[in-house]
């Protein structure tokens, strides 16, 4: 996934005071970050990672883009982003339950599905692909997974459009 877009999505989440409140955090704590393969998760946290991404390449003038360029190769990218919400059940302060994890998930929905282009200006067509909740016995973690699909255009030699 394009790094600028990924960064905008993370910023969108970390800048929301309601989401931070639900996580027992404040704006500036930045508990939402790109998932790291081998580092341990410290809850509460929201990690994001890109799933398989499809792309259609075509040529010509695209009048949809802000600065049309004739003859540039354009790629319409269909990205899927996986949002993992991690909440520990091992303490009594909020968030600590499956309900708390669901409340966080609902706020993520609001942030990523409503008025998203205003914050991640190069994306469009956001939709929720699916969601689930699991409880990990061995770690005592609530784990909500939400996947969103969205579209963005890239233009050869110009990057995002």
């Amino acid at each position: 996934m394009n790094a600028t877009i990924f960064s905008e999505i993370i910023t969108r989440l970390n800048a929301d005071s309601t989401l931070m409140g639900l996580m027992g955090k404040t704006v500036g704590d930045n508990p939402c970050y790109r998932a790291q393969r081998l580092s341990a998760i410290v809850p509460p946290a929201i990690t994001l990672r890109a799933n398989t991404e499809g792309s259609d390449l075509y040529c010509g003038t695209d009048y949809v883009v802000s600065t049309p360029v004739t003859g540039a190769a354009l790629a319409q990218n269909r990205a899927t982003i996986q949002v993992d919400i991690w909440v520990s059940s091992s303490n009594s302060s909020v968030p600590s339950t499956g309900f708390d994890a669901d409340a966080i998930a609902n706020q993520v929905d609001i942030l990523l599905l409503y008025n998203t282009p205003a914050h991640t200006g190069n994306t469009h067509g956001w939709r929720k692909v699916g969601s689930s909740q699991q409880y990990e016995d061995e770690t005592g973690l609530w784990h909500n997974v939400i996947r969103y699909e969205f579209w963005y255009l890239t233009k050869q030699g110009y990057g995002l459009t």
Binding site: R37, A40, T52, R78, T80, Q82, W86, S132, V145
Partner: protein, 158 residues
Amino acid sequence: MVTLLTKEELIQKLNNLSANQIKHVEEKMRIAVMVVEAEAKKNATPGHSPYEDMFFPTKWAFAEAHGLGYSGAPYMDDQNPAREPPHMRDTMYGVVETEGLSVHGIVGTPKEYALRVHEGTSKMWGRPFLTDAGAAKMPKVIEILSEAVIENLQEQSE
């Protein structure tokens, strides 16, 4: 050729169109489900999986210790004692269910650990073999289901 219909005949044609649509969609949905199921199975097959290069330390260590080739696909080697036969890939299924005017195509697996494989855990990255299969085959599914509408229209126009 132009066929002239009375008002009653036209109403009958339109009623038939509606009544037969479900039958046509069910028929095509069975094909669509097979297409997605096959893709999901491919996603869980070593050598063909999009997760081939994903690294899982425990799996890697087992492959190394037993001189086996490594694959990040959600498929456990037959020699691995942790494997619970049958393979998850071999339990994947597809069914079509109809409720009133809604036709649902369902692809899944009854394996208890499938959700953890698909969604991931705090110690293992997810490999969304079903979600990816649906996304990859969506254009084909739309094409197949569109045929149901076209075939029904053709049938009723005869």
